[in-house]
Symmetry: none
């Protein structure tokens, strides 16, 4: 990828509008039935027409054969080397369940677990208690564990025995070892700082665990907590710093709003439907020059392994798209962050179809918005980290390099 400081030196802000529409997990694979991918099976006249008049290609999310999580896949699309800028597990989990993570907070993934009277962990998952039970216990911890030396602990359930804690207060540092012993029959590990800077945080966490144990005494299998993946928000250069962009995110799911915040985007309140998201775009169109719009359900249906439902989401996206096109953005890109083929019921490493519509875009042989047809486009196969420089260039926001 292009050197960050060189790119930054070429940035030349103007008021042209860029819209990056990310259909999560968009890329797919042929199903056995008729050899067509989800995109090939979908009815999407608007996207197809757009693709035929766009520069198209295939974007590789993280590297050959590398299946990225949502964090690295989005960072790459936002132009950040996903191997250099890694977002910790605790932070990703917190963002995923909608817990806010501030710049100085420390987030950690947690399990309810069972320990015997000698303090030995007998079940790291507390018998996989239900999500409802987990939610009840989290509420109890939130209510009954007092602030710890000026630090507040925010506790939120995830699924089954899993939950997340975000510590908020002055002087926190994320460099702590896991307390989870990773096997039954061992004691939980006392919170240990990895560096001197984290000593105070270790004391806070130790006090949290002790108090949690007191609150949970008598709660049956879920009588202790195990913590792993202490992490803080990574220090990412913002879209403003890096690209000179006033950027906004329109995303219905917490994790994507959190990711956008990590790169300094304003996060606009919006509704869960495509129509509401595009209406939010319309309302704020004058206020920003870059919009990241996130469509979640392509990924969800892919993860479900439901080929037809994923096709249906693409059909709906296509039907809703005219509301966005009516704004006539100077540069519009439509792509995915990674593939989620229904065939695989999960993320994959396959490249995503990528469409870039702009006055300066060079159309190729692409006739429809599919993986195979985008392979015939003028953008070729390129790393997702190249997308942002391309969008900036097509918006006239990059100066000439050299004389």
């Amino acid at each position: 990828m292009i050197d960050e400081s060189i790119l930054r030196s070429l940035v030349m802000p103007n008021d042209r509008k860029i819209v990056l529409l990310v259909a999560d997990g968009l890329g797919g694979l042929p199903r056995d039935l008729d050899g067509r991918t989800e995109l090939e099976a979908a009815a999407k006249p608007t996207l197809d027409k757009l693709a035929a008049h766009s520069a198209c290609g295939l974007s590789v999310p993280a590297g050959p054969g590398i299946t990225p999580g949502s964090g690295p896949a989005h960072l790459a699309l936002f132009g950040y080397d996903p191997f250099r800028y890694q977002i910790g597990r605790g932070v990703m989990e917190a963002l995923g369940i909608g817990l806010e993570v501030g710049t100085h907070d420390v987030a950690v993934r947690a399990n309810f677990a069972t320990m015997d009277r000698d303090g030995v962990v007998t079940d790291r998952r507390a018998g996989r208690i239900t999500t409802e039970r987990c939610a009840g216990l989290c509420a109890k911890l939130q209510r009954e564990v007092p602030p710890l030396d000026g630090v507040e602990a925010f506790v939120m359930h995830a699924s089954e025995h899993r939950f997340v804690v975000v510590f908020r207060g002055p002087g926190l540092d994320e460099h702590l070892a896991d307390t989870d012993p990773q096997r039954d029959g061992a004691r939980a590990v006392d919170p240990q700082p990895l560096f001197e800077e984290a000593e105070r945080t270790a004391a806070v966490v130790r006090s949290f665990v002790a108090k949690a144990n007191r609150v949970l005494a008598g709660e049956g299998p879920a009588n202790t907590v195990l913590l792993r993946g202490f992490s803080a928000l990574p220090h990412l250069p913002t879209f403003k710093d890096r690209y000179g962009l006033k950027a906004a995110a329109i995303a219905a799911y917490p994790m994507y709003r959190g990711l956008a915040q990590c790169v300094g985007m304003a996060v606009l309140p919006t509704g869960p439907s495509l129509e509401e998201q595009f209406e939010t775009l319309r309302q704020h169109y004058k206020d920003f020059d870059f919009f990241y719009v996130h469509v979640k359900k392509t990924d969800t249906r892919g993860e479900d392994g439901n080929f037809n439902a994923k096709v249906q989401v693409i059909n709906e996206l296509d039907a809703a798209l005219p509301a966005l096109l009516k704004l006539e953005p100077d540069v519009l890109a439509v792509t995915g962050d990674h593939s989620t083929p229904a065939l695989m019921k999960g993320h994959s490493w396959h490249p995503n179809p990528f469409l870039l519509h702009a006055r300066t875009a060079q159309p190729g042989w692409t006739e429809e918005f599919t993986e195979r047809s985008c392979a015939l486009g003028t953008l070729g196969r390129f790393p997702a980290t190249d997308a942002m420089p391309l969008l900036l260039a097509h918006a006239g926001k990059l100066a000439k390099f050299g004389a």
Copy 2:
């Protein structure tokens, strides 16, 4: 290429089978007659059908315009940066003629040469003596030069005046300057250590040269030896370390067996024909999860400049292939290590057709297994070092990166 330590951290072994079939020097160029390449002129219905149902592309062996030797070309395909991991000339030559090179051995290329009575080299090639004569002299040296301070010297002829010496014994170090003065009319250079660690080795080599001179006195033009390219096996991470793979090589030629050994593959005994190689594969199919199968003759016929003979080798490969396909490997790749166009009578930098067959492979527009048709595949044009991460991913052996 993807960072080695990141890739290693994602490896997730399972029992799925990967077969990498390398037809050496596979890629070709159009002949004048009808503008068809060797692959285009071949009758290969099985490969063509396979390609149409595979992810295809073009793999670039070492870099734009860079013609690799067999060593770097194979290392790249095995996922090792061929510029970082270089295998010395002496070692490659030894492997090429079937001389075993152990982990602590030092190998060197040698010439029989002529020197006058003042010790001046008058012909660095001893009048290009025949290979038979060379073999006889090598046998004589092997017989008559005694062990040198506990170090054995293994002497084996190559072609004409060329031969190889492998020194085996404790405390050897390959950092020695060439003794070959590189021009007639100069004296042979006394063996010199490049670093202190190689002082003992220099003494051993000095003693070898003195004894060889004594043995060769009176042997006419071939009365001395010149040595160049002292080298030891490179310290390569193994396939097990790097990819978690239990890997085996099925190759009839010594050099390729040696290369496979360098990356820690088990080398299976096999016969020279394709049928025997595929039968070896069948017999050991349960014992390994990665197989490298090497077909030599595509390269040999290309080096000969014999277009029709190379076509014939491809025809034979296609006819033998069903025996391999019957094993139904989870992931099968067919490609070359480098191109050897008959037109050029030698290795070239041109990319190789690459076919990847797996349930998760995305077919593109490729209709037959040729250079031109693979250019229309979904893998695009990619560095050969990307092949291994792709094979691992398609075999489900790589975990997701990040959350």
